[in-house]
């Protein structure tokens, strides 16, 4: 087997990231580039800290600022030799003194086709929107949120079966591929970032914003269209999850499909081992669900155990 002489290994970077997406990306970056240091959030009680665990495993220097001020202090006090920073799934705002401390700036891998879905939760919002395609954007960050110039974008199709978790996984793979390919080209000066509005014009993509979800987003509102609710169920998997109450049972719906049956919003019908709930237009046939506090189950097991409580 042959491989190209890897000049990528000579690229040194400082990594900023904290969540599960960050740790999966970091694992790939460690194999592909030189990671000089890992800057992440401190371990908080009761939560896992996958980035810290991974960085420890590879004996990388770890810094854990609580906020943007502490982050600026860390950068001031440690003269990193890397020309470039890389931020993925970090959760702390990065101020311009930190950005400017790297001669090639800080690159963010953002999981949408910018300028679509700027902000904290692009994956969920691209699923909710029902759009057919999404992707990953590599952007040189500026202080304004997700408005930096773009280095590269990669697209993928959103499948009708994609849940938040499965789409996230596919986007991480795409992000890794883009980083391996385009980061070296950016560092060597072969490509330079282009402004988002140019890209937006040529692709007729419009600026849109995602936001952090709250637990209440997960409440199923039967006055919405069945198509919308089906997408919510896939988009909210993991968190906040799609919840409702049927009869005396509190439920989390994990899989459903749209059926043509005409029922009033919120009205439900059990027949033929099927559970169908009316929405604003059409209805949802529930396939899999989780009574609160119980394991996930398919609809026939649920009806066998809970029919009398509905």
């Amino acid at each position: 087997m042959a491989k190209p002489n890897s000049s990528n290994r000579q690229i040194s970077l400082v990594f900023f990231g904290a969540g599960p997406v960050a740790s999966e990306s970091l694992e790939f970056l460690i194999q592909t580039f030189q990671v000089e240091a890992v800057i992440t959030k401190p371990r908080s009680k009761g939560n896992t800290a996958p980035v810290i665990d991974l960085a420890n495993m590879h004996n990388l220097p770890i810094f854990t600022p609580l906020n943007r001020l502490e982050l600026s202090e860390i950068i001031k006090n440690n003269r990193f030799s890397s020309q470039i920073g890389l931020v993925i799934d970090f959760g702390i705002i990065i101020s311009s003194d930190v950005i400017d401390s790297f001669s090639l700036g800080i690159i963010n891998s953002h999981f949408s086709l910018l300028p679509e879905w700027r902000g904290a939760d692009p994956i969920t919002f691209s699923l909710l929107s029902g759009q057919a395609r999404t992707g990953v954007s590599l952007m040189r960050i500026v202080e304004a949120l997700d408005e930096g110039p773009l280095i590269a974008q990669g697209e993928l199709n959103i499948l009708p079966t994609h849940t938040n978790q499965s789409l996230t996984k596919d986007l991480i793979d795409l992000s890794n591929t883009l980083l391996a390919h385009y980061l070296p080209m950016y560092v060597s000066g072969e490509i330079s970032p282009g402004p988002q509005d140019l890209i937006a014009k040529s692709t007729s993509r419009e600026v849109s914003y995602s936001r952090k979800l709250s637990k209440n987003d997960g409440l199923l509102d039967w006055n919405k269209d069945a198509e919308t609710l089906e997408r919510e169920i896939r988009a909210y998997q993991g968190w906040p999850q799609s919840r409702c109450k049927l009869g005396r049972v509190d439920l989390i719906i994990t899989e459903a499909s749209v059926v043509d049956k005409k029922l009033k919003p919120g009205e439900y019908q059990v027949d033929n081992k099927q559970l169908i709930i009316g929405c604003k237009s059409k209805s949802l046939q529930i396939k899999r669900l989780k009574p609160i506090g119980k394991n996930e189950m398919d609809i026939s097991s649920f009806l066998a155990g809970y029919l009398d409580k509905l």
Partner: protein
């Protein structure tokens, strides 16, 4: 007989699609085979500006025996030292499926973005007859999967056949560029 890099056979040579035979006894012939494989690889590397050989299977110098050599350090510029594995078998595939670029000395100018398991367990015999069992992760796991495939007559292109976005070529300045699948790969008389 041909020497050095010229011993390396390439597609469409049908021998590459054959299954290698198990080595029964490790003797001087086996050691000679391993020496020849190393000589071929070092010679091949010397002729390449932007590639390094990380491993080779015996069938690639047209010997249908289950022997592979793996470079000890994969980075360009590191000492060209190799470990031979005789009768290697992957006993377990583990971990996630990861994509990375692979080329093959027996497939001219095509690179592929190939899905492989991130972890494997392998069993083999060393050149001094000892049984080796090891776990491999990351790029080494990939290399071992690629070479053990050779001993079964399988090539990396077989894993990505039909994937329009997985075929690349290494340009003369050492960059990987995507190949047009429909035009260059799909109906290639050499590859398939």
């Amino acid at each position: 007989m041909k020497q050095g890099k010229d011993r390396i056979i390439t597609l469409p040579n049908k021998h590459l699609r054959q299954k290698s035979k198990k080595v029964g006894i490790i003797n001087d012939d086996t050691k000679q085979l391993i020496d020849d494989m190393i000589t071929s690889v070092i010679d091949w590397d010397a002729s390449r500006d932007h590639e390094v050989t990380v491993a080779l299977a015996a069938i690639q110098i047209d010997v249908l025996l289950n022997v592979i050599i793996v470079r000890d350090d994969f980075e360009h510029g590191s000492p060209a030292e190799y470990t031979a594995l005789i009768n290697p078998v992957i006993t377990k595939y583990e971990g996630d499926i990861e994509l990375d670029y692979e080329g093959c000395l027996s497939i001219k100018s095509v690179y592929g973005l190939v899905p492989r398991h991130s972890k494997v367990r392998i069993k083999a015999t060393s050149v001094d007859g000892k049984e080796i069992k090891m776990k491999a992760t990351g790029f080494l796991a990939r290399v071992l999967q690629h070479e053990v495939d050779h001993t079964k007559g399988k090539l990396f292109v077989d894993h990505i056949k039909g994937d329009e976005n997985s075929f690349y070529e290494l340009t003369s300045d050492g960059k990987l560029e995507k190949l047009d699948y429909q035009e260059k790969i799909k109906d290639s008389k050499i590859l398939w």
